[in-house]
Each structure stands twice: as structure tokens, then as C-alpha cells.
């Protein structure tokens, strides 16, 4: 291998791989993010790296970009061994990286962002005018059009991403790494991005695409590697594999594509909502008269495009309606009326009434990221008698309980002293789910249970939700993922513009019918509503 290196700078007949990693390992404290990784990417190809959240994909690429130093291992670029000590070294070696969270200066212009760190001299003017020319050329070559004088905060997310790609190309990158590039894009923007990437590949650039979306891998990559729990489990040609095969490699076992559940045996009504209305402090009607009933032992799924009142519904049920809003209507749980305002309308009171809540945004409402997992497991229930010793908290008891719950919910790593921030998205969600489900609530409110959660954790969380239902509890499930709603729910209600557009049984409906309802069109009962107000 070493013999093929640099004969007059030109690669020998058997061209060395653009990127070759050997035995890369990296750990953060107790978390082993990468373990003995080997990877080979040929020049002029698009290579996908797929894996669940927390599988170590981003860490691996950050190592390649010099953001982290590996604990062990070797990096070779074009057959030449490299020590990439910092980002500057990576840029010199021809590597460009588009991070999941863009590294752009919001109030700088596109041009200023492009030249930052790659200026030609001490004065800006020559660099700016040269960059302007280069940008015009790149825009022509690769459909990378952006107004160079616009500030970043004025640009759409898709355009901001183009700026990141342009930054890399301006630095003459031959290897372009993109970390979850489509997570923030609309489908049309994603298609445009793929056209750009194909154009770049055809020019001889090497592209590494990190994603957890199988569809993208199948659509655009030439070769693909699969990572699982910090290890590289397979590298294959995309044409020789299938989505099912990749999914299985990702999670390490057969994926349940459908949730297996017995038919529901609904009992008494647990939640009754009658003509619930919310007007927010700006006078906009957020809920326009909601009527709902959920019985013990059933899952009611609420489908809808986000921003149609689902959040407000969850907040008022959870006991924290938005400040300054005016509420009317009735909510009953197990027959008792809940207060909609005043001092008895709070989350703690709701919990005492047997309502559990897995909030929509786990990082803001569900967890305190800087607190340890065991503390997070106790939140909301920290006054519980089993957590107390007289007037004091019994930390030992809480830790024991938290450790047991973390064990049962397979939170990885199973370390209850680790701050919530240091868990991957799926494992953070498992902590929240464990806390709420293990309290065995009569009514469980669930908002977006699997947003940003990997396939393995989705399956696990779904199974727990169904188990709770089978234990005779009522469940309100709000999700923007139609597949999730259709596979989990016993009944489906569709929300649009603060109203329930209609209820359907999953067996009797189709995605397209629900889609119409979600767009405010009732295909069976009523004429289309005039759209008076933007949700």
C-alpha cells in the first residue's frame, strides 16, 4: 500500500482511496463513540454513512475534519498518511465539511462568511472581490446560486446550506462531508441538493454523506457504510443492497415495520374534552371548540400539520396553557373537572390527577440537559413519598429507582450519573418515556414521541406505548408523522386550524384521506372550509 504513494504526485494505476481510515477509536468520558473504525472511500464517489442516532457517525467525521483528536488510529488521504491536528490541517488536506448545525455568522454577508479564515491577505477588499468572481463561477457550474451580499439571517435554511458548500468549494475542497444535510430541508430543496452533489461527484469530488434516512442512501450514494453503537458493521455497494437489508444492519436485528398490537378493548371514558377554546394574548383563536373522548385502553392519535393547535391542546391538558391566553370549555379526567386557570391549573396538579406527559420538545420541556439522568428521572415526581425521607429528598432512593428504570428502558449508556446532554436524542427520549410511563398514569399525553429518534428506539418506544394501552390506560398521541399515527392509533382525529376536522378508524382510512383532512378539506361531510386565518 505504501509503495503506491506519490510518484511525482500522481496516483499510480490502482488509484489509492480518497479517504482511508484504519482503526479509529475515540471516547468521550465513559462514552465510546468510535471503536476501531475502518473505512475506505474511493475518489469521485458519493459514500453514505448510515446509522442510528448516537452510532458515532458525526464523531467519526469530526475526527476526519480535525475537530476531535482520535484516541487511536490512522488517517490516509489519497494513500498518504495524515495527522489532522486541527481544522486548518483538514482544510489544507482538501477536506470540507458541512455541519448539521451550520457554522455561519448570522449578521455577516454571504461573501464575508465565505472568506472568513481563507482571506488572501491582511486587507479584506481584494479577498472579497476575488471571492465574488469565484462565487459567480461556482454558481454557474453547480447550480449554487446565492446572493453574495445578503446577510445569512435573511437566507432560507436551504440557501444557508449552499453557503456552507460554497465555503468548502472556495477552499478548494476535494472531499466534501455533509452531516445530516437534509434534516432541515424541504423535499424540493433536498432534490436540488442531490443534483448539486451529483454535479460535484461528476467533477471528480469525493462526497461523504452522513444520514439516518434510508431513502437518501438508496437515492444518491454509490457505496454505503453502516455504523452501529460506535462500530463499523458493514461497507457495501448501494446497488447490491436494499433498504430492508440496511435497516437490519443499522439496528442489528429485524425491524418491526408495523406495530404488532391486539385490538383495543376500550373501557370507561378517561378524558372528556368539551368545547375547549383558547384565545391567545394576541387575540388569535388557537383552539376553536375541541370535543374529544378517550377511553381506558385505547390510543387516540391526533394527526395534523404542526401549528394547527396540537401544541396548545397538549399544553392545556398538561396544565401549562400559554400565559395571557383565555380559555373556555370543560376538561374532565375520570369524571372530575380540571381547572383551566388559576393556581390549581399547573403541571403538578395534573400529575396528581393521574396525567402523565411526554412533551413535544424533550430538550426544552422534558429534560434539564445539564442535570444528571437520575435527577431527570425524578423531575415532576420529586415530591413522591418514595423519593422522600421526612422533609428531605432521598437521593439514594431516587438513584436506585432511576438506575432500575434506565435498565428497563435500555437507555445507553446505562449510566445514571451522566448529564442528560450527553445522551443521544433517542436515549434522551427514552429517559423521558421511562419517567412518565413507569408512573403508570391513567392518561398519558404524548407529543412527537419519536422526533429525531433512531429506528431502534422508535420501535422500543412504540412497544411501551402499546403495553401501557393494554394495561388499560388512555393515551393521547400527537404526532406529525402520519405513519406513526396510523400504525399506533386505535382512533385517529385530524386537527386543522384549531378544530377537529374529523375522526377515522385506521382500518377504514387511507393516508390520502387523512392528508386531505390535514389540509382542511373534509372529503365526506362538509364543503371545504374557507381559510380565514393562517394557523
Amino acid at each position: 500500500m505504501d509503495a503506491t504513494v506519490q510518484n511525482g504526485g500522481r496516483p499510480a494505476a490502482a488509484a489509492p482511496a480518497a479517504i482511508e481510515l484504519r482503526g479509529i477509536s475515540k471516547s468521550f468520558g465513559p462514552v465510546q463513540a468510535n471503536r476501531d473504525i475502518d473505512l475506505r472511500v474511493e475518489k469521485g464517489t458519493i459514500h453514505g454513512i448510515i446509522g442510528e442516532n448516537g452510532a458515532g457517525k458525526s464523531t467519526l467525521m469530526s475526527i476526519l475534519y480535525g475537530f476531535y483528536k482520535p484516541d487511536a488510529g490512522e488517517i490516509r488521504l489519497g494513500g498518504r498518511p495524515m495527522t489532522i491536528t486541527d481544522s486548518q490541517a483538514a482544510i489544507r488536506a482538501g477536506i470540507g465539511m458541512v455541519f448539521q448545525h451550520f457554522k455561519l455568522v448570522q449578521n455577516f454577508t454571504v461573501l464575508e462568511n465565505i472568506i472568513l479564515g481563507a482571506e488572501d491577505g491582511r486587507l479584506l477588499r481584494p479577498s472579497l472581490s476575488r471571492a465574488r468572481g469565484v462565487l459567480r463561477q461556482l454558481a454557474r457550474d453547480y447550480e449554487l446560486n446565492v446572493d453574495p451580499d445578503e446577510t445569512i439571517e435573511e437566507l432560507s435554511v436551504g440557501h444557508q446550506q449552499r453557503v456552507e458548500i460554497l465555503k468548502a468549494l472556495y477552499r478548494r475542497a476535494d472531499i466534501l462531508i455533509l452531516d445530516e444535510p437534509t434534516g432541515v430541508l424541504t423535499p424540493a430543496e433536498a432534490d436540488h441538493l442531490f443534483r448539486i452533489l451529483r454535479g460535484l461527484r461528476d467533477e471528480g469530488k469525493t462526497i461523504v454523506l452522513i444520514t439516518h434516512k434510508l431513502r437518501e442512501i438508496m437515492e444518491i450514494t454509490d457505496t454505503v457504510s453502516v455504523m452501529r453503537r460506535g462500530e463499523m458493521v458493514a461497507s457495501v455497494k448501494t446497488a447490491e443492497t436494499s433498504p430492508e437489508g440496511l435497516a437490519e444492519l443499522m439496528v442489528g436485528r429485524k425491524v418491526l415495520l408495523n406495530v404488532h398490537k391486539a385490538p383495543a378493548r376500550p373501557g370507561q371514558a378517561v378524558l372528556e374534552v368539551c368545547n375547549l377554546k383558547i384565545v391567545d394574548d394576541t387575540g388569535v383563536e388557537r383552539l376553536r371548540g375541541i370535543d374529544l373522548t378517550i377511553r381506558a385502553g385505547e390510543i387516540l392519535g391526533i394527526a395534523g400539520v404542526s401549528g394547527n393547535g396540537q401544541t396548545q391542546l397538549l399544553e392545556v391538558l398538561g396544565g401549562y396553557p400559554e400565559k395571557g391566553s383565555t380559555l373556555s370549555g370543560e376538561i374532565r379526567v375520570n369524571g372530575t373537572l380540571l381547572s383551566l386557570s388559576g393556581r390549581t391549573c399547573n403541571a403538578a396538579e395534573r400529575r396528581r390527577r393521574g396525567i402523565g406527559h411526554i412533551p413535544e420538545d424533550r430538550q426544552v420541556e422534558g429534560l434539564i440537559l445539564d442535570f444528571a439522568a437520575w435527577e431527570n428521572v425524578a423531575f415532576g415526581y420529586h415530591d413522591a413519598p418514595e423519593y422522600s425521607r421526612g422533609p428531605l429528598m432521598d437521593h439514594d432512593a431516587i438513584r436506585r429507582d432511576a438506575a432500575a428504570k434506565i435498565q428497563r428502558f435500555d437507555v445507553r449508556p446505562p449510566n445514571c450519573y451522566l448529564a442528560a446532554r450527553n445522551f443521544s436524542g433517542g436515549n434522551q427520549q427514552k429517559i423521558v418515556v421511562a419517567r412518565e410511563i413507569e408512573r403508570n398514569p391513567d392518561l398519558l399525553l404524548i407529543g412527537q414521541p419519536t422526533r429525531g429518534v433512531d429506528i431502534g428506539a422508535i420501535e422500543f418506544i412504540h412497544k411501551r406505548i402499546v403495553d401501557l394501552r393494554d394495561a388499560g390506560k388512555a393515551i393521547l398521541l400527537v404526532s406529525v408523522e402520519l405513519d406513526e399515527i396510523m400504525s399506533l392509533s386505535d382512533r385517529i382525529a385530524v386537527m386543522f386550524d384549531g378544530r377537529i376536522m374529523g375522526e377515522r378508524l385506521p382500518a377504514d382510512t387511507t393516508a390520502s384521506e387523512l392528508g386531505l383532512l390535514m389540509a382542511g378539506v373534509d372529503p365526506t361531510f362538509r364543503q371545504p372550509e374557507p381559510l380565514t386565518q393562517d394557523p
Binding site: F28, F67, Q88, K103, Q106, N113, G117, L124, S127
Partner: protein, 350 residues
Amino acid sequence: MDLNTVIQILDSAVRLMTPLLLACLAGLYSERAGVFDIGLEGKMLMAAFSAAAVAALTGNVWLGLMAGLLGSLMLSAIHGLASITFRGNQLISGVAMNFLASGLTVLLGQKIFGLGGRTPTLTPGAELEAQVTPFRIWLSGITGPDAAGWLTATPRLSDITLPLAETLRPVPVIGPLYAEVISGHSILVYVAFLMVPLTWWVLYRTRFGLRLRAVGENPASVDTAGVSVTRLRFAAVAIAGLLCGLAGAYLATGLSAGFVKEMTAGRGFIALAALIFAKWRPWGALGATFLFGLLEAVANRYPNLDLGIVTVPSMFMNALPYILTVIILAGFVGRAIPPRAGGEPYVKER
């Protein structure tokens, strides 16, 4: 109010705004790079003391100026170490600098001069002579008595008369304005005013300025571009130290003649308020500090402002700059958006 009075007030305003302007620009460099600097006050105080002390001991104000810069830089280095290298809380580190300066200046002053914390007055006289003599004798051994006498004869910054000042004086309005307000200040006043366009140019026209602004807005963008966040921030903090050094040295050897305990009197905090008022822009800093300088000048000129019906007491007039500070900090001047990454130590995220 006649023209003469206006000119006198403006002249006084220019002198009084100079330390504010230098400190404000110091804060601007530091905060634009994302390091909050509440320790401007302490750095100025340290510089004022070091400058006055060395000027008193050597009889040479330029050596005093050097000492002032060093004193301020020393505190900057500690602030940088605490808040950049060790990622400590920038506000706490700044407050610590203020306490350190406040205590250290008085302690050292008493130890060296035994005058209750102040330095000898920097005007020729017996008090100063007594301090300078040992240095002059030592220097004579090296340079000869004539040179030593010459080198130890300027303990204070002298005022510079600009060319044509006297020739133009008879010209109505412009003449006295030029001769009094523009001409006849110490070198540091001119340095302070030149720093404004220079700072603007550095920030918006140079590579260093681009990176400096970027590191205060989004340090990750600078880091991923392969530029050291730490080095940039240290550079900014060092510049802030130098500017505070100039401000303090001017205070003790230009505006007054010697150091007295707590002589900065909150000017570092007023400079911070001016920085917010200026929305972290160099020309804005000029305007904001002029306003504060003017208020102070008016207060000095009219201790008891007679408005016919009521007489505004002097305490109120003296408090005016501080009242304005409170009003500005309370956000009555419109929204000022600070640098986005200000106050946050930079840590690489996963």
C-alpha cells in the same frame, strides 16, 4: 451663555471624554470578540496608579505611560487566562479585576509613598523633587547630569499647541474654537480621537477585524474555518488592556496631576454604558462618550444650575452622568443587540 462659555465647556468636555472614549473602545474590542469586560474600571485604575507612580519616581511621564500600559495589560492577561483559557465566568473575573485594582493600588501607594494611598502631585515642587532625586542620581551615573536632568523633568503630559492656533485666534468663532477646543490638549487626547477611525478601519476593512467580529458572533464558525478562537480572543483582550492603559495614564498624568484613591470614579462602568449606547460601533462610541463628557463638563461648570424658579443642586448635576448610565442600561435607547456569543466561553460541541 456667551461663546466663550460654550468654548470652555466644549474644551472641558473633550478632556473629560478622552478616558471614556479610550475605555469604551477597549470594551468594544473585547466584547466584539465575545469577551465581556466589566473590569475596564479596574484596568484604568491600575494603569492610572502605575503611570502616576512611575512618573513620580522617575520624573518621566513616558516611562509612566509605559508602566500604565503594563499595569493594565497585566490585569488583561489574568482576565484572559480566567475567561478564555479556563473558561471561567467573564463577569466574575471582571469583578475580581476591579476589586484587585481597587485594593492593590492603595496598598502599593501607601507602601511606596506613605501618603495615604495617593501618589505625590506631579507638579514641580518639593514633594516631587524628594521622590525623583534618587533616580536622577542613579541616572546621572549613566548619562551624565545634564541628560539625567532633562530625562527627569517632565512628570506630566504637557498640552500640545497645534500649528497656527495663535495665528487663527482672532478669526471669529472658528479661531477660538480651534485654539481652545481642538488645539491645546495632550497627545493622548489626539490618540483617542484617532483611535475611532482606526478602530472602524480595523474592524471592517481588515482580516483581523473580520475574524474578531466573527469570533464574537459565532466562534464555531471561526474554529471550523481553522482559525484559533483562543488567540483571537487573547489579541482582543490585549488590545483592550492597552487602550485601558492609555485611558488610566491620561487620567493620572494628563487630566489630573497624580493618582488618588478610586480616581476612576466609575468611568469604566460609564464607558460600558456608552458602549451599549453606541451599539458596539466605533463612531457610536465617539458620540456616546462625547455626550457623557459634555454632561460632566456642564456639571463642573454649573455646580448649582439656576433655572429661575428652582435651583438644581450640585449633587444632582454631578449625578447626571450616572443617571444617564442607568437610563441607558435600562434600555431606553432602543434595542441594542450585543455580540451573540458575548459572555460565553467557547467550548467545542459534539
